[in-house]
Amino acid sequence: MLETLIPNWGRFGDRLISDTMATLQMVAIAGSIAFILGMTFGVLLVVTKKEGILEQLFIYNLLDMIINVIRSIPFLILLILLIPISRAIVGTGLGVTGAIIPLVFGTTPFFARQIESAIAELDSGLVEASLAMGMSPIEIIFSVYLRESIPSITRVTQITAINLVALTTFAGAVGAGGLGDFAIQFGLQLRLMDLLWAAIIIILIIVSVIQGIGNVIIKWSTK
């Protein structure tokens, strides 16, 4: 079956599988880290800004600036720029492990901004009501900001995760492999179009799964 659909499966099927796994690994690991960091920074942006529940303009301005700077660096350049930092943190600047740090840097600032705007959509009256009930800032962050914006947080997580899948295609530049690298090698250089299409279809499936899971969560959490 696979042989007829993908004539070159026999020669390069193993590569396709291992590159798919590399992409999935990068998305899962970098995605999880970026999710937690981005959520933290996004919430920090919301609470420390002017009129925020823990107004700290110094922290806000600092975060704001760092996010803007990192976001303005093109990812391919970020990937190379961060090789020494990757080495220092995870021991190598190459391979899937080496790609994780740049992917986190490439995703977190974008996600933090998305989280900031997702929470900003909330009716400020909800926070006022919670303050009037005598709730502490920590309670408000978890029980109001995060809980009440689950649908919009899910939506921005979908967008960011799909973006992350796109970013992993650059990771070949540091020898991490992945479907992007696979497509360049076999599709562009060897002109094996069946393998190019196979890679595209796998990416489509990954993106659809992300969309599908997100939509289920949005549906479940929107009352």
Binding site: G125, A129, A132, M133, G134, S143, R147, E148, I150, K223
Partner: protein
């Protein structure tokens, strides 16, 4: 119960000082329903938010139940806020929680057991008349129902004070009346002191014991609702009262010289205000008969405030100058306030 002393609040907006509140002092007694009325921008929202320190006064003191709030730590303020419930114009219910969930949410830090909390939340929802809707989400509730949930939520920590921020402004008149009735019941049943702000004299008339009128961040007038209605002193209060009785329309008509208020020679337009049912019904008959003054009623309104009636009548009188003057003097003797609105 609540003592507001010399409270000032200044906002700095674009490097300009905005004096939202200027030297406001008020005392609100335990168990009463106290209304604060003003137009939008008068500072009433800021004032009610000063009572639970959602806005911190720039200077001045806020005492609630014998405790000086402005001196408390952040934690102390949170504790004090738990003893005060608050409801809002736009309800501010948590959309992801059911009616029951919203009440339980306010109870999460209480020392009751899980079962006790659940029972209390159910009891409160029953008190506000929503026993059949406890599992509904806010998006499926009507405005009035949402405000009922908000009231149940605000009462969950047995507050001594309930702050109402334009609680009925977003509701239709019928629903608004039912919410006011509920507030009155709550204040009697649970001995809660209620402070409400509004721009509608009808709300004040309906449930308040005392009222404060504020304009431009200043306290203009304060007193029992009946007194304020029957003898308004400041211009702003007079405006509110006349809007409420509908007499404001007549003033507009006079300004426009409308035919309905056009006068013939020897005719004048009088506004009569009387309070407390001390005026005999035969007043109009009497002036027609005794002073030979032809009288027709152009406008009339009677407001019932705490079992007293306050009447406003606009009449046109036609007669000899001397007779008209005598008629007016007679009516004043009878305890009726007479104002000449227009004369020829």
């Amino acid at each position: 119960m609540i003592k507001i002393e010399h409270v000032n609040k200044t906002f700095i907006i674009k490097k300009r000082n905005i004096h939202a509140l200027q030297d406001i002092s008020l005392e609100i007694k335990a168990g009463e329903i106290f209304g604060i009325i003003g137009y939008s921008g008068a500072g009433k929202s800021t004032l009610i938010r000063c009572i639970n320190l959602l806005e911190r006064p720039t200077t001045g003191s806020i005492m609630v139940d014998g405790e000086e709030l402005t001196a408390l730590s952040a934690r102390g303020v949170r504790q004090a806020r738990k003893k005060m419930g608050m409801i809002f114009q736009h309800f501010n219910l948590m959309p992801s929680r059911t009616a029951l969930g919203n009440v339980l949410f306010a109870l999460r830090k209480s020392t009751l057991t899980k079962e006790e909390k659940e029972k209390k939340a159910r009891d409160l929802l029953e008190l506000v008349g929503l026993a059949h809707r406890i599992h509904a989400y806010p998006s499926n509730l009507s405005g009035g129902e949402k405000q009922r949930v908000a009231i149940a939520r605000a009462l969950s920590n047995d507050p001594k004070v309930l702050l109402c921020d334009e609680a009925t402004s977003a509701l239709d008149p019928k629903t608004s009346a039912s919410i006011l009735k509920l507030l009155k019941e709550v204040s009697q049943k649970l001995q809660v002191t209620i402070v409400l702000i509004t721009h509608s004299m009808d709300v004040i008339k309906e449930i308040c014991d005392r009222v404060a009128v504020i304009e431009g961040g200043q306290l203009k007038e304060e007193g029992k609702v009946l007194d304020i209605f029957s003898h308004p002193k400041s211009d702003i209060t007079k405006q509110f009262v006349s809007q409420s009785s509908g007499i404001g329309k007549i003033y507009e008509l006079i300004e426009q010289d409308a035919p309905i208020v056009a006068l013939e020679a020897d005719e004048m337009l009088l506004k009569l205000t009387y309070a407390g049912g001390k005026v005999k019904d035969a007043l109009i008959y009497h002036i027609m008969k005794e002073f030979d003054v032809k009288t027709s009623i152009i406008f009339g309104n009677v407001a019932i405030i705490q079992h007293f009636n306050i009447g406003t009548l606009v009449i046109s009188c036609c007669g000899k100058q001397k007779n008209l003057a005598e008629a007016i003097a007679y009516m004043r003797e009878q305890g009726v306030q007479v104002e000449v609105m227009k004369s020829c």
